[in-house]
């Protein structure tokens, strides 16, 4: 046993020292740092499949203006140094035109390199507010509204539905959780909302009964969650509903997935989520592309009857870049970063055929639009309850 173990260790080490290099292909290359493991694994896996499926679907239908897409990726489990390593490796080996990154930390770390040397545009799973500054992040793009914008959309909705409403913000004590809080406070004030409480919790699984005690006293009309996926939002809702409170609950992108009604069941009824995409599971089809996506999914994954919106995010991410390539090719321009960037910035009122819930317009290095959706727990779906809300 000991010998086998030592032998294995030696083999591993030698393998590591001779990392092979491969040659780049002519196709359009899309590279990705995937998030299959790690704390983000629950979403990363689906997101990754969304990207993969979209590219396969596109390639099966002749590619983008004849260009096939080659998709390469590696998993990093939400670790910055690994992501940077993967970026270097994948860009060196495949020279991708597009890159899907992961954490905010990675987006920041890679920014100087991204600007300096590579012919690559990047998007990622980060909606960090800081990335909306195009002068600082000219090669990065947020596929959707930033966290601040998401929060603003929800607050706008609340202010419209109940002017002067009492609002509480609950967020996790992590980089992600703290991101839009200051801006959110300012926005609430601007909208004339009464911000009665801001609560910080540890991320992940925590007991929230004390926080419920606080909210019980402040009696907010709305509680806005940011920085969570599912827990402990369900617990807040459960306990506050048990207490007979009429508070409405709302949350930003990562807290607005199907997990809400799938896991928290009837407790989640009436929960409000902000979403720039449509959901996989809708009462009626929002458009042709959406139908195609459903059909393709049914064909290649017959076992997957439904998909969380992370999958939609992956699909949409692929779609945005495909559109950018398509438009650039149509305009007869070369596929360089600058041309692609210009094309991207020129997108105005693009109809995505039902994938996005809003007409796509690019502004502030992002797509600062969204709609508010409401959980219908009995039916097991989100239903749109607002018009498109734009943040300027």
């Amino acid at each position: 046993m000991k010998k086998i173990f030592m032998g294995l260790a030696v083999v591993l080490l030698t393998l590591g020292l001779c990392v092979s290099t491969a040659t780049a292909k002519e196709d359009i290359v899309f590279a990705e740092t995937a998030l299959i493991t790690g704390v983000f694994g629950f979403a990363g896996g689906e997101l990754h499949e969304g990207i993969v499926d979209y590219f396969n679907y596109t390639n099966e239908n002749g590619g983008i203006r004849g260009h096939k897409i080659k998709h390469v990726f590696e998993d990093c489990g939400y670790k910055v140094d690994c992501s940077v390593a993967t970026f270097k490796k994948l860009t060196a080996e495949h020279n991708p035109l597009f890159y899907s990154g992961d954490s905010t930390g990675f987006m920041k770390a890679i920014n100087p390199e991204l600007q300096a040397t590579k012919n690559t545009l990047m998007s990622g799973v980060s909606y960090a507010s800081e990335l909306t500054d195009e002068t600082k992040y000219p090669r990065s793009f947020i596929i959707g509204p930033s966290y601040t914008d998401q929060m603003s959309i929800l607050l706008t909705y609340a202010a419209k539905e109940m002017p002067g409403a009492k609002v509480a913000i609950v967020h996790s004590d992590s980089g992600f959780g703290r991101d839009p809080i200051e801006a959110g406070k300012a926005k609430a004030k601007e909208l004339g909302l009464d911000l009665v409480e801001v609560i910080t919790t540890k991320p992940g699984s925590v007991d929230v009964s004390t926080e419920v005690l606080k909210l019980r006293r402040k009696k907010p009309d709305y509680v806005l969650f940011h920085g969570y996926v599912l827990t402990p939002i369900n617990e807040f809702m459960q306990q506050m509903k048990d207490l007979g409170m009429a508070t409405k609950f709302m949350g930003t992108y990562w807290s607005s997935s199907e997990l809400m009604y799938m896991k928290a069941k009837e407790v989640s009824d009436g929960y409000l989520g902000v979403m720039h995409l449509n959901y996989f599971n809708m009462e009626k089809s929002p458009g042709k592309e959406w139908d195609a996506m459903r059909a393709y999914n049914a064909k290649v994954h017959p076992d997957k009857l439904t998909r969380p919106n992370f999958y939609m995010f992956g699909w949409f991410q692929g779609m945005v870049w495909a559109e950018v390539i398509g438009r650039t090719v149509d305009a007869g321009k070369e596929l360089t970063v600058d041309n692609l960037r210009a094309t991207l910035n020129s997108i105005e009122n693009w109809d995505t055929g039902g994938i996005a819930s809003v007409p796509v317009t690019v502004r502030n290095n992002s797509i600062p639009f969204g709609r508010v959706f409401k959980v219908n727990a009995a039916e097991g779906r989100y239903e749109p309850v607002s018009e498109v809300i734009e943040i300027k």
């Binding site: 540890k202 004390t210 459960q238």
Partner: protein
């Protein structure tokens, strides 16, 4: 000062503390017998909660069957751990043994992801949900019942270790391994037994924590607070585990209530630093006598 809020928070804090005490008890039992700091205790909690989820949520067995089975599962996990990776480490430096348990926690996290998937889960409701009011005082039902169950097991453990043969063997081993061995106590058996019971306590706590806080493969990280509890109370003191658990649970909750959640870790770890400087072996821990 809103006294009602103060008392409500205090009760919530003590209830959390009771669960901390239970995990800490499991931790201390293991430490007392085997001198091993088990950094994987959070992951044992997590796996046990997943076992409960499997039995009660997926197989839809009655919680009264599922809960003991999950505890048994947790206990067995502890026992197997002891046999496979702790026993061969006998006599190695404490750092190495700690690292073994850290390695184990990584294995368990990965295993949980492979078996149950990476997404967050919610346990099926098995505790009464109606909020409890004591006069004006509101207590969240889940946390109240969890605390009661935790206290129940705590009492059972204390009685058991005080009076049973196994308990005596454990205490004998804890105070002097060689002497215990020469008195005919099978020390390896005691080790295994400590890991089994210690992990079982953690298992129950894991289910209770997951019941109110949800569950994911990374849930085990909550055990950081448990480390504070056991160091605070003294690594080898059952009393320390009980008192430390309640105190740390209370303090953490009060910090959250009056200062904000971001100060929780800061407060308990700052407190810990002070305690360590003033009482290097915790409030109730045995001072190791140094010899030349």
């Amino acid at each position: 000062m809103d006294w009602l809020f103060f008392f409500e928070s205090s009760i919530a804090g003590l209830a959390t503390g009771a669960i901390y005490s239970l995990v800490a008890l499991g931790f201390v039992i293991i430490y007392k017998a085997t001198r091993v700091i088990n950094f994987a205790i959070g992951e044992i909690m997590m796996i046990s909660a997943y076992l409960f989820l499997t039995f009660a949520g997926i197989l839809e067995w009655h919680p009264l069957i599922a809960l003991p089975l999950a505890m048994l599962g947790g206990g067995l996990l502890g026992s197997v751990t002891e046999k496979l990776i702790i026993r061969p480490m006998l006599g190695e430096s404490p750092i190495s043994v700690v690292m073994v348990t850290i390695g184990l926690s990584s294995i368990l996290v990965g295993a949980a992801q492979i078996i149950w998937g990476p997404g967050p889960r919610i346990l099926p409701d098995f505790l009464p949900r109606a909020p409890i009011f004591i006069g004006e005082l509101y207590v969240s039902s889940k946390i109240a019942y969890s605390a009661l169950i935790a206290i129940g097991l705590l009492v059972c453990y204390l009685i058991y270790f005080r009076f049973s043969r196994g308990g005596v063997a454990l205490r004998a081993t804890a105070s002097d391994q060689a002497a215990a061995f020469s008195m005919g106590i099978s020390v390896p058996k005691v080790f295994n037994y400590a890991w089994f019971f210690g992990s079982m306590a953690a298992a129950l706590a894991g289910v209770l924590v997951a019941a109110s806080g949800g569950l994911s493969p990374y849930s085990g990280s909550m055990a950081l607070s448990i480390l504070v509890v056991v160091i605070f109370g003294g690594l080898d003191s059952l009393t320390g585990a009980l008192v430390g658990g309640l105190l740390v649970g209370w303090l953490e909750t009060m910090t959250g209530a009056f200062l904000g959640g971001e100060y929780k870790m800061l407060t308990i770890f700052t407190l810990l630093t002070f305690v360590l400087v003033l009482k290097p072996y915790g409030l109730f821990g045995t001072k190791e006598i140094e010899r030349l």
